[in-house]
């Protein structure tokens, strides 16, 4: 529902800009949470593409920067809540990695709001939808990334 509202808003306010967002989701919590959203038929914004990793700790600053370099308008990294990590402390390492990524993104002169770290559990299907909707809305407000040289034309 929230997705639909933001979408209509988007169409009137920011004509034509459809953000390209890469979302890294850990296998055990966030990817499973996205599946739960499906089972519950939660409706949310489609303007993101998921890449599954086993743990949020697998995602390096390099991955995030590569996505931005290739023109992604935003990058989301999503893992398990603290204490829930399938690999005990992988998500804590994800935080450390993400802090480094943030510093690099700032150094590059990009808006750090283009990248986000979130925790979504396997049960939180609704939350997954909310996280995506919120992030899509934020990136839509920020507009195309300055590195997005080839805005994708929708067929």
């Amino acid at each position: 529902m929230a997705g639909k509202v933001s979408k209509t808003k988007k169409k009137t306010a920011k004509a034509k800009f459809v953000p390209n967002i890469v979302a890294f989701a850990c296998n055990w919590c966030s990817y499973a949470g996205a599946d739960t959203a499906g089972i519950n038929r939660v409706q949310y914004s489609p303007n993101f593409r998921v890449i599954r990793t086993m743990c949020s700790g697998r995602v390096t600053p390099g991955h995030v920067l590569k996505a931005l370099k290739l023109g992604a308008d935003g990058v989301l990294v999503s893992g398990c809540h603290f204490g829930d990590c399938h690999y005990i402390f992988g998500n804590y390492k994800a935080v450390e990695q993400f802090d480094r990524t943030k510093a690099l993104v700032k150094t590059l002169g990009l808006d750090e709001r283009r990248i986000r770290l979130e925790w979504v559990s396997a049960a939180e299907g609704t939350r997954w939808g909310e996280v995506i909707d919120e992030f899509v809305a934020q990136i839509t407000t920020l507009g195309p990334s300055p590195l997005n040289h080839k805005p994708k034309s929708r067929k």
Binding site: D35, G62, L70, Q97
Partner: protein, 955 residues
């Protein structure tokens, strides 16, 4: 749940009940009635189209009536099996006008209204009763108005309200007006610890205090603007590892007030629907009338309504509360009067999650003695492996999933797009790709087109990848060359209102999947040998139980005890509550059983070093070295030695529970100062060294029942007894009943607060009196006493815990005890694979809980050493030595101790990852500064290729 459902050796029979049991341990015949589901488990894919079409809406039991479900439904989102059931009571098909909507919506013809109950007979070796509990029906207490007033909820209802997947999506709203309440009152012990007519149960339900504490923290998290919360309680029973610390953290919330007192009644303001709570403050005596926006009743647990029927089938007795009777002669909480039938969880009384989990593993260990061993996995048919060295030849298979995918996504557009992608040589579609026909299509086309990569655009790899991998393997294609694209759960289902945009997304996802598939490499499962023996460290009750369980399963066991005799702390005890078992007799029996068994017993032996990893540990002891496959650590804990509290060092008659136990053990009489002419007086002081942030912040859990046990014994000898306490925490099995018995015997219980500690004074070498502020009277009471007994808690055994921490790398918590893998779900496991914990080494426990953990640890260890080899999942991390500069960062961050630095030629070092220990999370690969570590199946190439496929628009 999903793990159990998917396990090859577990057959889950839901919607079924045991109706008859014949035979004896090792050869039971169980008759099970499988009630009709009216939906075929085999045919149903759980797609949910029938649910959408069903016109009947009824209250949802899982949401405690707060949400709705249809007449055809899945009980909850992650239910196993992933299928539906028809509620015939509400279904319209039994009406004179047959609805049949579900039948016409199901493309798989899975719905069968002629389904009937079937009885099946199973040959089983043992039976485990794990039937849980029912929630106390709070409407039985009319003065609380549950069911009458809109804004009086039960704790179970609040659980659903707070849940993100619940009826309000985690938003706290008053049922009367859907507004966020500004104030909430939690009322404890509803239906528990009852007295009189509206009593409910007399026992303590154990989990409700922590449940309320947790809910207060969650409420604040969900609704930061909450103004006030109250918890009305009798004793706040935060008795469990880490519970007291958690409770104290909640006390730091300025919005939360704990009030000692049991409300007498609850009323409703008819206009505002506010809730009015009438309560007398037990500390000040003040009677107040409190208006809150919402009240939550902490309803307790009662015995499952199914217990009497099941008890009859099993031939077991129930106790006075309706729970299954435990056979206490073994001291174990798992045994019943019948051999081969075991209890766990709330079937035998109220337990919290971690104890239930430990008991479940323990019951499994007990049962294993009577269970048939499964034959070793059949050798897979040898098939010639498909050569993948050449160019990738990708086959793309598109699943319609009935109309779940095809009803939203434009499959022909996806097909067209797939055909344009590099290396794609065939594109096929199927109505249900996971069906036998669908899998047959995958295999047929793979052979026909000599495919060496297979991509399926269907549902989620989390449930269906194993099916596809199996099919690939059957025809000789390495299963790791299969890639799944999730276009249902994460696309068609969640963007069904925007089919065109959803198709765009699916096209992108498909392109990403094909790109990744082109970079997939075959991976092979390695197997490592397992040494089929177990080391048990510590010969106390937990260790002896673990060793005996393992030995009974025919496993070679080394039991190492540092003292010269077995029994540990059991040797210092007299009677063990609640069954009044003689501790020395229990110790003697266990000692005899151990010595009569084939256990390699090593007393007066110290562990000197342990190296290696799961399946292959090298142990050296003062009595020689040996190899084992798994280790159970059961070294126990120490009793806190008071450091001068209450004159412990000054006066000879100020002693600890332990010292009193020794006096009672030797059957010495407690004498009064007057030399036996008048009855003696003993004053107990609880929480000495416990619940004190400067000493041991935690609650030791066993001291309250210990004091009660001793108080009853003394009272029976005619001694006057007073117990000075902060909260009486009698939470274990039957402990509340003992507390009640002690009060009936005339033991005085007086509460003190940490701000106003009792004062002990005396003369010469003896303490003579105790002064305490009686809170309700607001007066100092002076009690002349002959003995002061300090209830000293438990602290870690520094020496052995410290040494084993070094050898085994098990982390220690803030309290100094070993940390479990998961506080709730892994109470006997550690982060070091193959190493398990039992008893007090992970935190204070009583005898029954220690025994349950001993059995549980045995089950876990047996699961490892009952195989000659273990197959290792190949999706691990490996090091490319030429890139490694031996910085050691991977060694530092890995929680599983998989990487280590090894010497290579030329005196150089490189990191090496032990494949047996690596779990494949890939964190080290992301951490490695030189990129020397490769996370197999999630390599840089594979991840990059997906991003490139998505973001690079090809000209």
């Amino acid at each position: 749940m999903l793990d159990a459902g998917r396990h090859p050796n577990i057959e889950v029979l839901t919607n079924s009940e045991l109706v008859w049991l014949d035979g004896r341990a090792g050869r039971f015949k169980a008759t099970v009635r499988r009630n009709p589901r009216y939906v075929s488990e085999e045919l149903c894919t759980g797609c949910g189209l029938c649910v959408e079409d069903c016109p009947v809406v009824v209250p949802n039991e899982f949401e405690v009536g707060m949400g709705a479900r249809k007449a055809i439904y899945s009980p909850f989102a992650q239910a196993v099996p992933n299928t539906h059931i028809i509620d015939r009571q509400n279904c319209l098909n039994d009406d004179f006008l047959v609805c049949n909507n579900c039948v016409s919506s199901c493309d798989r013809n899975a719905i069968n209204f002629d389904d009937t109950a079937k009885e099946i007979t199973l040959d089983v070796g043992a039976v485990i009763v794990a039937t849980g509990f029912d929630v106390y029906e709070a409407s039985a207490i009319p003065s609380y108005g549950y069911g009458l007033y809109d804004n009086v909820l039960s704790n179970m209802e609040l659980e659903r309200v707070l849940n993100a997947t619940g009826p309000t999506h985690g938003h706290i709203a008053r049922p009367s007006d859907h507004k966020v309440p500004k104030t909430i009152a939690f009322i404890q012990c509803v239906g528990s610890r009852g007295e009189g007519k509206e009593a409910g149960c007399q026992y303590c339900s154990r989990f409700c205090c922590m449940n309320a504490v947790k809910d207060c923290l969650l409420v604040k998290q969900h609704e930061p603007d909450i103004e006030e919360m109250f918890v009305f309680y009798i004793d706040l029973r935060a008795a469990g590892k880490g519970f007291e610390e958690f409770y104290q953290r909640s006390r730091e919330m300025p919005e939360l007030t704990y009030v000692r007192g049991r409300p007498s009644k609850i009323m409703e303001d008819a206009e505002t629907k506010d809730v009015i709570v009438y309560v007398e403050n037990g500390e000040t005596g003040e009677v107040s009338r409190l208006r809150v926006g919402m009240a939550v009743l902490s309803t307790g647990a009662v015995a499952s309504a199914s217990n009497p029927g099941l008890a009859e089938v099993l031939g077991l007795d129930l106790d006075e509360n309706g729970f299954f009777e435990v056979e206490t002669k073994y001291g174990s909480p798992l045994h019943t009067a019948k051999e081969g039938i075991y209890l766990c969880g709330c079937a035998a009384g109220v337990n919290d999650i971690s104890d239930s989990v430990a008991q479940a593993s323990g019951a499994a260990a007990e049962s294993e003695k009577f269970a048939d061993k499964l034959p070793d996995e059949e050798k897979k048919r040898e098939v010639k492996e498909i050569d993948v060295s050449g160019q990738p030849r990708v086959g793309v298979f598109l699943c319609h999933c009935g109309i779940n995918i095809a009803g939203v996504l434009d499959i022909s557009s996806l097909k067209e797009h797939a055909e344009t992608l590099p290396n794609v040589v065939c594109v096929e579609e199927s109505l249900f790709l996971c069906s036998d026909e669908g899998q047959g299509l995958v295999q047929e086309k793979t052979v026909e087109h000599q495919l060496n990569r297979v991509v399926a655009a269907a549902c989620t790899p989390r449930t269906h990848e194993p099916i596809f991998r199996d099919s690939c393997e059957q025809i000789g294609l390495n299963p790791y060359l299969f890639e799944m694209v999730n276009v249902r759960d994460q696309c068609s289902w969640v963007h069904s209102r925007v089919p065109e945009i959803a198709t765009d997304k699916a096209r992108d996802l498909l392109r990403m999947g094909v790109a990744r598939a082109r970079h997939l490499q075959p991976l092979y499962k390695n197997s490592i040998p397992i040494d089929r023996s177990v080391l048990v460290i510590g010969g106390g009750i937990a260790g002896m139980y673990a060793a005996l369980e393992l030995e009974a399963q025919g496993i070679r066991v080394y039991l190492v005890e540092k003292e010269d005799r077995l029994g540990g702390r059991l040797n210092t005890l007299t009677k063990v509550y609640p069954a009044n078992l003689s501790a020395s007799e229990l110790a003697r029996t266990m000692d005899k059983r151990v010595r009569a068994s084939r256990i390699e017993l090593m007393t007066a032996t110290e562990i000197e070093g342990i190296t290696g990893f799961v399946g292959n540990f090298d142990v050296s002891t003062s009595g020689g070295g040996f190899k084992v496959g798994a280790i159970v650590v059961a070294t126990g804990a120490d009793i806190y030695t008071p450091t001068g509290e209450f004159g412990y060092d000054k006066w000879e008659n100020v002693i600890t529970n332990q010292e009193l136990e020794a006096i009672l053990h030797e059957d010495r009489q407690i004498q009064s100062a007057a030399g036996g002419k008048t009855p003696a007086t003993v004053v107990f002081i609880q929480c000495v060294g416990s619940r004190d942030p400067d000493k041991n912040a935690g609650c030791s859990r066993f001291c309250c029942p210990t004091t009660i046990k001793q108080a009853i014994r003394l009272r029976e000898d005619g001694v006057n007894v007073a117990v000075l306490h902060r909260d009486m925490r009698t939470v274990g099995a039957k402990a509340e009943e003992l507390y009640r018995q002690a009060r009936a015997l005339g033991v005085k219980f007086i509460r003190y607060t940490p701000e106003r500690l009792p004062r002990v004074s005396g003369k010469g070498s003896r303490a003579e009196q105790v002064e305490i502020l009686e809170l309700a009277l607001n007066r100092i009471l002076t009690i002349a006493t002959d003995y002061v007994v300090l209830a000293a808690g438990m602290v870690p055994d520094e020496q052995s815990t410290g040494a084993l921490h070094e050898f085994l790398k098990i982390p220690r918590g803030a309290d100094g005890f070993f940390m479990e893998r998961h506080a709730k779900l892994g109470p006997v496991e550690t982060t070091t694979e193959g190493v398990f914990l039992a008893g007090c080494v992970s935190g204070p426990k009583d005898i029954a809980d220690s025994i349950a953990q001993g059995s549980a640890a045995a089950a876990k260890a047996a699961a490892i050493v009952s195989h000659d080899t273990v197959a290792l999942e190949p999706t691990t991390c490996v090091v490319e030595p030429s890139l490694c500069r031996a910085c050691g960062q991977c060694v530092e961050i890995c929680q599983y101790h998989a990487p280590s630095l090894v010497q290579i030629a030329g005196g150089l070092q490189v990191a090496e990852i032990n494949q047996a220990l690596c779990k494949g999370c890939g964190t080290c690969a992301s951490w490695c500064p030189t990129g020397a570590i490769v996370a197999l199946h999630f390599t840089e190439d594979q991840i990059d290729s997906m991003m490139e496929a998505l973001l690079t628009v090809e000209a």
